[in-house]
Amino acid sequence: MNFAHFNFRRFVAVVLKEFIQMRRDRLTFGMMVGVPMIQLILFGFAINSNPKHLPTAVYSADNSVFSRTFVRGLQNSSYFDIIREAKNTLEINRLLAENTVQFAVTIPVDFSRKLIRGERPDLLLEADATDPTAVGYAIAAVSGLTPTILNRDLTGPLAHLTGGTAPFNLVVHQHYNPENITQYNIVPGLMGVMLTMTMVMITALAITRERERGTMENLLSTPVRPGEVLLGKIVPYIGVGYVQVTLILLAAKFLFDVPMVGSVPLLVGLVFLFIVANLAVGITFSTVAKNQLQAMQMTFFFFLPSLLLSGYMFPFRGMPVWAQDIGEVLPLTHFLRVVRGILLKGNGLAELMPDLWPMALFLAVMLTVGIKRYRQTLD
């Protein structure tokens, strides 16, 4: 830049004009001032990378003072919330697969008898380790308290069991991602993140562009119906979405060696629901936005919470309940569970149901709003 001819008054003229235009565009102004504030408060309080109170199921085949003490010890560590007494191993497995619990403790038969005999019985702690960061701290905590947890109960003739190694052997099974490889969690999740980003933005822009360029007026004067326009706009992008899905799946398989335990065709089928849900968001935005800039801003307004509150970047269960409630509304939250569930856990349709209907509900609501707001006239 050549500053030799820089004129301060002309420069001020441009600055003033920008401020006037900024003030005129209310939505943009709001997005610049209000939204960062909301997000600061929202994300500041919501995000927590050291999640506590993780839902835990207990299957106790040995109802003894020792097992009760151990369970109470878990509870007191504040990392574990015992929410379920399971009746058998089968139920434990189901609870982990369905994402109902993060941890499951199995206390085997004869635990207390073997413990008293000094045989160091096994005690099984199973974790859903699809997201390694969600379980890391909790596993570290339980390992730390194991050696001394039963000391108060080991009195009298059992006092010799205290000190040194723990009187039982804690076996930790990290399911679905035993080696704690972050990519296994991140790469499938990225599929959802990228689809959210591109699908919402592309549709929001596609319809707003028609209005901004004046072509909408022409379109409306022809016999074409709103349903035909909306559907016609959506279908090409469903194709684009599937190209993205294919690329990410290929990369996951050949570049990142992500395990694909479950049915890939099932995943490909269910992606449809997620893609359409995001396209519906885009359409709704496009009926509200006055120009492409606003459509873009709305996309980011939707994208940021999707990224931060869905469990993609930070453990979902680390967030306070109100933030989890917001997260439950977002389709990405459920899609992450679906994609991780299929690829890492090998879940089938039955286990995925709890996450499919919220996505379907979201889609139905968004589509209704979008179609209601899209008008056939210019009124």
Binding site: N218, T222, D379
Partner: protein
């Protein structure tokens, strides 16, 4: 079509935007094959009225038929048989000429689409430029493309919203040749314009200001009904004379045209009394027929007093 002899037959058409009446109780009858000119100042409601005729806006009041279909309930049918050319170029700049025409032909479900597109290209004499992007066309060519696209489904009614704004005189003349040709073939045309020479080429005129219809009829009828008397003045220092005449009783318009001055007013007697002092040997005064422009400006100023 119904037995109605009119292509457009509406009355009481009214449109309000947020409490402001943009089109107020307008009635209009247009016969087949007419070129109906729609005139009025900017923001007078011309575009709004056209949009209501083709179903882009819903009237708040009024009733009637367009192409035999009810304007309130059958806008979908009207759209199939009418062509609407928007004020601003509203085809896809990132599509070629041919792709634009093909798209529109598909929307109207043309039976033999490739032939229809070919016909349009030939009429446009754009066959050689068919693969050119519409965005790279000049203003005149864009206007021709828009017209061709509006005609591709062979509509019975053509609604043109300031089609010649920003187009050079030659292209404008060619455009009007085309319009007259189409009207001769039976097409009805409703056209808005600001150009007086274009208004004079219409078979019927309507003048609208502040949403109200102020005058309608043929050019002669409109001029006659205005009852305007106009004097042409020649001489020296006309600007000074013009300044002195303005504001005198009966003097409604004083317009300088280079070497002549037009002075007009509706009250011929009062006007003559007011200009008498300047009717000296220095200036030559001659009564002339009032032009459309004089009439429209007079109508507009009267309307401003009555409706503003």
């Amino acid at each position: 079509m119904s037995a109605n002899e009119f292509i457009i037959d509406v009355r009481g058409v009214t449109k309000k935007f947020g409490g402001r009446t943009v089109v107020n109780d307008i009635a209009m009858q247009v016969r087949p094959g007419e070129i109906y000119g729609f005139l009025g100042p900017n923001g007078s409601g011309k575009t709004t009225f056209l949009r209501m005729l083709c179903g882009l806006l819903t009237p708040d009041g009024g009733s009637g038929h367009c192409l035999g279909y009810d304007i309130l309930r059958q806008s979908a049918e009207i759209k199939k048989h009418a062509g609407y050319m928007t004020q601003r170029f509203s085809f896809y700049e990132d599509l070629t000429i041919e792709e634009n025409l093909d798209f529109i032909a598909r929307l109207y479900e043309m039976p033999d689409r490739p032939a229809a597109v070919e016909r349009s290209l030939e009429r446009l004499t754009m066959t050689a430029r068919r693969r050119q992007l519409a965005g790279t066309l000049s203003g005149g060519w864009k206007q021709r493309l828009a017209l061709a696209a509006c005609l591709i489904h062979q509509p019975q009614l053509l609604l043109l919203d300031e089609p010649t704004a920003g187009v050079d005189p030659k292209a404008r003349r060619d455009f009007w040749e085309e319009i007259h040709q189409l009207a001769a073939d039976g097409l009805t045309v409703l056209i808005t314009t600001h150009y007086m020479d274009e208004a004079e080429r219409c078979t019927q005129l309507a003048y609208i200001a502040y949403g109200n219809l102020l005058a309608k009829g043929t050019v002669e009828e409109v001029v006659r009904s205005a009852g305007l008397t106009t004097w042409e003045v020649t001489g020296k220092n006309l600007h000074a004379v013009a300044d002195q005449l303005r504001g005198r009783p009966g003097v409604e318009q004083v317009v300088v045209f280079g070497a002549t001055l037009h002075v007009s007013g509706r009250d011929a007697v009062q006007l003559q009394a007011s200009v008498k002092p300047w009717m000296t040997g220095e200036y030559r005064w001659q009564p002339i027929a009032s032009g459309l422009e004089d009439v429209f400006i007079s109508l507009m100023e009267t309307a401003a007093d009555n409706f503003k």
